[in-house]
């Protein structure tokens, strides 16, 4: 890490840093959910014949393991994520006049 980027990291608002870290974790959770859900559904639910139908609690087997279970799991993970991982922070006051930024913004 160069000195400049190190200084930049030191100056970075903690909320920006935590928001970015949380966004990365969320993207990984999304990717994991996709791999699980599409993978299992493809494995157990595509190209099958009527005779191969297995039901779990009334759902076709692939729906139960590929949709219902990950959906309930994701609800649990979302709760854990929100309670344990997401950090609260000050959002700050409203800028009343954007011209203050000096770019005519």
């Amino acid at each position: 890490m160069s000195d400049e980027s190190g200084r930049q990291q030191d100056r970075l608002d903690p909320l920006v840093r935590s928001a970015f870290r949380e966004a990365l974790v969320v993207a990984l959770i999304w990717l994991g959910a996709m791999v699980w859900s599409v993978g299992v559904s493809w494995w157990l639910g595509y190209g099958r014949s009527e005779q191969e139908l297995k039901l779990v609690l009334g759902f076709p087997e692939w729906v139960f393991w590929g949709i219902v279970v990950p959906w309930v799991s994701c609800a649990g993970i979302s709760w854990l994520f929100a309670v344990w991982f997401v950090r609260d922070g000050e959002l700050g006051e409203d800028l009343e006049d954007a011209e203050d930024l000096g770019l005519g913004g």
Partner: protein, 556 residues
């Protein structure tokens, strides 16, 4: 079990005769309309403190957990209209089509929520174009965003006006037709025109009174109504058919193996593949990133009260989504078991509502409650579009470009005139509506996400992003999606046998949804052009990204 099976059979036999909508449905809709107007008045009082612009267009950044959780990412009337029709037509595979909703709460709030709420305060932004304008110090970028939003929202709004009028038309006692589809018979009837006028007057009136808060609160109201409707219908359907196992087996017997396996059932004997692997992956991308990049959703994140609200919204919406989408799929699978041969698949929810509650005490009112849900969803969607649209015109064009010193009363008048004009234009355009506006809804949703997602992420997290890079990303994302849709509309694409049966399809290049190509184009071009153009001044970036200390903090 046997008794339930018998009841199911009886109900299925009764289904042969078309059920009629009783006065309960209209009563519920009238109650809903009165409730919405009352909400408009309450919102007017709440928004009248502080500055007009922030109060009327952003609810003074005061959204709490329930308002944010249940309104920022929920879909429009389609949840109760198009979606059940897909389940009825293609079977259990639609569970995979909508499966990505399991992570909508965490992505919708966890990717941009906190940072966007902070950035909008640091830039003083009231609208999405406002945020881009100040973040990148570029009035041109702000104006471009406004024009894109006006373009997409116009299509979306027209279609919703038509949907609202159709729901009122079918709720008319003795109205006959139950289909919610765009090509429902008798669309030119006087009932449609009366419905259109009542719908337009109601939604413009309460939005005019309460602005952003009225849109959010009616959205919350209809979300609760929808939850109650789904729960009631779930119990009614499962007891009518004799349990989920019976529902799956009987719907399989009524259709074929495609109903319980991928790539889904199609009435043409399997030539059309509803959800091949490429589209299954596509929709996991489309629903998630399309939702994150939707302008109406971005505004609500900007309006959130604090980070605690955003955090709690994640799990409140997780529970809500779990209680809506899986039950709706179960309901429509039950529908295929009870009513195997509906000519119009989008009749399924109203028909089930009438059929399964016929013997309940006050069954007509319960059916009315279930029918009122799509009306509420459409109304709240239009209301939020009206707010975003008028904020674009008033804040981003009138105040920024024409009358920077306009007083509060003049801005209020401009907002009202914009909303009334938008309502009048929508009524005029939809008086003799084109048949398949659904095409434009899908195009506008994908187009808006392809236009705004990458720029919003770059605005929040990438210091090196430049106005030219972001503008290039917006244009390239929009152009790619527009091109792939045009290819589908004009018949330029090669023959395709994937996607939903009937109607219109865009060009699924390499089997993927257009939004994926749009996002790839937008992301790559925005990064490349940003790296090739000079960065923004370090001081400007520092004010938006770095911690505030001492005198600087006070000054800003």
């Amino acid at each position: 079990m046997w008794q339930a099976w018998n009841t199911g059979l009886l109900l299925a036999q009764q289904a042969g005769a078309a059920p009629q909508v009783g006065s309960g449905a209209m009563l519920m809709l009238v109650l809903f309309i009165v409730g919405s107007l009352w909400i408009g008045v309450l919102a007017n009082r709440a928004a009248s403190t502080g500055g007009f612009m922030k109060g009327f267009f952003l609810g003074n950044r005061g959204l709490g957990v329930w308002a944010l959780a249940l309104t920022a990412t929920i879909q429009s009337g389609g949840t109760f209209m198009g979606f059940p029709s897909l389940v009825y037509s293609h079977g259990w595979i639609v569970a995979l089509w909508i499966g990505s909703y399991m992570v909508v709460p965490i992505t919708g709030f966890g990717i941009l929520g906190k940072r966007l709420a902070q950035l909008s305060r640091r830039t003083g932004a009231i609208t999405v174009p406002d945020m881009f304008r100040v973040r990148f110090g570029s009035p041109t970028l702000g104006l471009m965003s406004t024009l894109f939003i006006l373009f997409y929202l116009s299509f979306l709004m027209f279609a919703q006006f038509k949907a609202g009028a159709i729901v009122l038309q079918l709720a008319w006692p003795g109205g006959g037709d139950l289909a919610l589809s765009e090509d429902a018979a008798g669309i030119s009837e006087w009932r449609y025109h009366v419905g259109l006028l009542v719908f337009a007057t109601t939604v413009v009136a309460y939005t005019l009174a309460g602005g952003f808060l009225a849109a959010v609160w009616t959205d919350l109201f209809q979300s609760v109504l929808m939850f109650a409707g789904v729960m009631l219908l779930l119990v009614a359907c499962l007891s009518a058919v004799g349990g989920l196992e019976q529902a799956t087996l009987r719907s399989l017997a009524n259709t074929g193996p495609g109903f319980v396996f991928g790539p889904g059932y199609s009435a043409d004997g399997g030539q059309q593949q509803f959800l091949p692997l490429s589209l299954a992956i596509s929709f996991f991308v489309v629903w998630i990133w399309g939702g994150v990049g939707a302008p109406a959703g971005l505004v609500r994140l900007m309006a959130s009260q604090n980070t605690n609200v955003i955090r709690k919204s994640i799990y409140v919406l997780s529970i809500y989504n779990l209680g809506i989408y899986l039950p709706l799929i179960v309901i429509c699978v039950c529908g295929r078991a009870l009513l195997p041969d509906l000519a119009k698949s989008d009749e399924i929810v109203p028909r089930l509502a009438l059929l399964t509650t016929a013997d309940w005490p006050g069954g007509s009112l319960v059916a009315g409650l279930i029918l009122a849900a799509p009306f509420g969803a459409v109304m709240s969607t239009v209301s939020s579009y009206l707010v975003v649209l008028s904020s674009g015109v008033v804040r981003d064009i009138y105040q920024r470009l024409l009358r920077p010193q306009a007083p509060r009363e003049e801005l209020r008048l401009a907002a009202w005139v914009t909303m009334i004009l938008a309502g009048l234009i929508s009524v005029a355009v939809m008086w003799s509506p084109p048949k398949y506006l659904q095409v434009f809804i899908v195009f506008s949703t994908s187009g808006a996400a392809a236009t705004f997602l990458v720029p919003a992420i770059m605005a929040c997290y990438w210091r090196r992003a430049t106005p030219t890079g972001v503008a290039t990303g917006m244009v390239s994302g929009a152009v790619v999606v527009l091109f792939l849709y045009l290819c589908g509309i004009m018949g330029w694409s090669p023959p395709q046998s994937i996607g939903a049966a009937g109607g219109f399809r865009p060009w699924f290049l390499l089997g993927l949804e257009p939004l994926i190509w749009g996002l790839l184009a937008s992301g790559s071009s925005a990064v490349l052009v940003s790296l090739l153009t000079p960065p923004l001044p370090a001081e400007h970036i520092s004010r938006l990204f770095d911690r505030r200390t001492g005198a600087e903090g006070e000054a800003v």
